[in-house]
Amino acid sequence: MNADPWQSLRRFTTARIALGRAGHAVPVDEVLRFQLAHAQARDAVLQPLDFAPLAAGLHALGCNAVELHSQAADRAAYLKRPDHGRLLDAPSQARVAALRGTPAGSGELVFVVGDGLSAIAVAGQTLPLLAEALPRLAAAGIAVCPSVFLARQARVALADAVGECLGARLAVILIGERPGLSAPDSLGIYLTFAPQAGRQNAERNCISNVRTAGLSHAAAAVKLTWLAREALRLGLSGVELKDCSDAALPDGAMAAVLPAQ
């Protein structure tokens, strides 16, 4: 095994440099480290999301959990057919429709939590994020639907189907992002004004990289609240709604929650 004499270069990048070599090959320590990182990313994609702790946590936050399923029957179908992951299956459609017009189904903004491509992102980030976001949304005068929908085999646009069915003005989905080798637990947030089937990606706003080593829960909650308020005020979302949350908060709210640069 030969070590590389340029290991000091590692201070400049998190890329896998100066690995040394065993013959022409990567030394075994690094091979196994890489394999572990890939295993974690694969598990993040393939492991089913456990809804029970999420439902209990939502209850503690004063919300009511409703479980849904997309038209993608299983993970293999989900990965092959993004179109099926955007649609509710028939029982789920009925479950949402039954809430329409009831107190449990009312509110300007409805939250959907989708497993997406990383169950561990959703398991780890959802409750801390909502704990930060719900009080801020309430303080901004935005009525949040007391039912939070937990959706399996979900793509981003599934939230539009839920929001449309309930007649909500805003649909927000919290969803596991495609895992990288060094960041398998990253949550994405997508917001759509006037949700309805067939909305394009350009009609949504996105907050990405929500995780402990990325965008903090508090910072994401501030951004989400700002985007929700502006979307309701302007009556739109997407490319025409630019995220100016950093500049627009006069009380230094972002500075207080963002880590020092």
Partner: protein, 462 residues
């Protein structure tokens, strides 16, 4: 209408694009598009019907209408009938046998390339097994030059890909030095920038050109910003140190529009880059990337299967005499190529089809974490493409691209392939590596000591 009868079942295929799609090996992108065969027997029947189709049909029946698609116009208007003559009377199935036969030697295949259309090549590839795709590609030779010579027999080049999530100059240079010290970078040192701005692109080009000049490295560099961004800095005074123009391309006019490009824009970029006269050995100044599924993801596939769309992208590439064409085969995700088997097949198809059309093909042998694939699949495809004579592969530190979040091939993977197949770097680059003591006289990687002059480059950085 095409048909084939199996026992009492008659399979009908309404038109040529349907026949091609049904004859395609199983892959998720064609199923997503709704053009795939509905069962294995239908797929086999489609192959039997396709084998009978005369090659001339592809000249008479454009798969995307001539009137609405500039790629179709390019393909038909630039078709070389004289070059086509040796195979003009053949069917698709007969072409497969001809390609494997003794008449199709390296010179004959080079002469034939301008006579083949992407659709003919896509069609015949659907009747070829993996070993056929390897054997035929291995007979093709496509040489290109800028400051190095790419594509010589017995050589394997690499694109050094030193990406960094925030384009940090020292982070990028650290990865570049790591690659150079492991004999990577003879195809190109190419950065995918996190920011697509002209200023950032110019900064990164300067970073690589300063390094090149400091050590007199026979190399070319590239920043993979949008072509219009690169054109912008080509128009500035003084001109930016831009060696190669990069652009992602696809096989239909509508898909290219989705990329924000047209043939006219690419021509403008070619002319602008050539006018700088920076190449010392040749003026192949374009670097293109492609990948099956890009047309469908832009909803611009015109009912074609994704592999036929991909082959049409090679007609676009061919027009601009590129130094490098790179099929980024597993990057797009499992909804287009589901698993290691589909990625492997697509990589071999793309390499062979590109080579038959006369292109300097390399492959980014890669996968994402939501695909059913791992490093073992990459090792297999890497080895197969090495045998097939691929012009270049990627060199990514530890195979983990920390900016694009996918896994490709590492500097070590290239060293493996060169070692087991007896392949060497591009000759100009090899001579430089030997001067610096990175390669021994017999072509082996040495263990450079801390006194290696390259290591001084970042030594003073804080």
């Amino acid at each position: 209408m095409y048909m084939h009868t199996v026992g009492i079942r008659r399979y009908r295929f309404a038109d040529l694009q349907t026949l091609l799609a049904r004859a395609s090996p199983e892959r998720s992108g064609d199923q997503l598009a709704g053009v795939a065969a509905s069962c294995a027997e239908e797929r086999a029947a489609a192959c039997l019907a396709l084998a009978e189709v005369p090659l001339r049909h592809f000249l008479e029946q454009p798969l995307v209408p001539y009137e609405v698609d500039e790629v179709t116009r390019l393909i038909l208007d630039s078709h070389d009938a004289a070059a086509f003559a040796p195979v003009a009377s053949l069917s698709v199935g007969e072409l497969r046998d001809w390609l494997l036969g003794p008449l199709a030697d390296t010179a004959a295949l080079a002469a034939l390339a301008p006579g083949l259309t992407p659709e003919m090549v896509a069609a015949v590839s659907k009747l070829m097994r993996n070993q056929d795709l390897i054997a035929v590609a291995r007979k093709c030779r496509v040489l290109t030059r800028f400051r190095t010579t790419i594509g010589l027999p017995g050589r394997l080049a690499t694109r050094l890909q030193p990406n960094h999530p925030t384009d940090d100059p020292r982070g990028i240079l650290a990865a570049v030095l790591d690659g150079l010290l492991q004999a990577s970078g003879d195809a190109v040192i190419g950065i995918n920038p996190a920011s697509d701005s002209p200023a950032a692109t110019r900064t990164l080009l300067g970073l690589l050109d300063d390094l090149r000049q400091a050590y007199q490295i026979p190399m070319q560099s590239c920043v993979l910003a949008h072509v219009t961004t690169q054109l912008r800095i080509l128009e500035q005074e003084p001109a930016a140190p831009l060696d190669l123009v990069f652009q992602s391309i696809a096989g239909t006019e509508a898909a290219n529009r989705g990329f924000g490009i047209s043939l006219a824009v690419l021509q403008e970029a070619l002319d602008a880059a050539r006018s700088l006269r920076r190449g010392t050995l040749g003026d192949n100044v374009m670097y293109f990337e492609t990948g099956q599924g890009s047309a469908l993801s832009a909803e611009a596939h015109h009912g074609l299967d994704q592999q036929t769309c991909e082959a049409r992208a090679y007609a676009v590439a061919r027009r601009f005499e590129p130094l490098l064409v790179n099929s980024v085969v597993g990057f797009i995700g499992p909804e287009y190529l589901y698993d290691g088997k589909q990625i492997m097949r697509a990589g071999l198809e793309d390499h062979c089809c590109g080579k038959l059309l006369g292109l300097p093909m390399g492959v980014d042998i890669c996968y994402t974490n939501h695909a059913e694939a791992d490093q073992n699949d990459m090792d297999t495809l890497l080895t197969l493409l090495g045998v097939a004579g691929v012009n270049f592969i990627m060199g990514v530190p530890g195979a983990d691209d920390i900016m694009l979040n996918y896994q490709s091939t590492s500097f070590h993977d290239a060293a493996y392939l060169r070692a087991v197949l007896g392949l060497r770097p591009a000759p100009e680059f090899e001579a430089w590596l030997q001067r610096l003591g990175i390669l021994s006289a017999d072509g082996c990687l040495t263990a450079p000591g801390p006194a290696s002059p390259l290591l001084g480059y970042l030594a003073e950085a804080p």
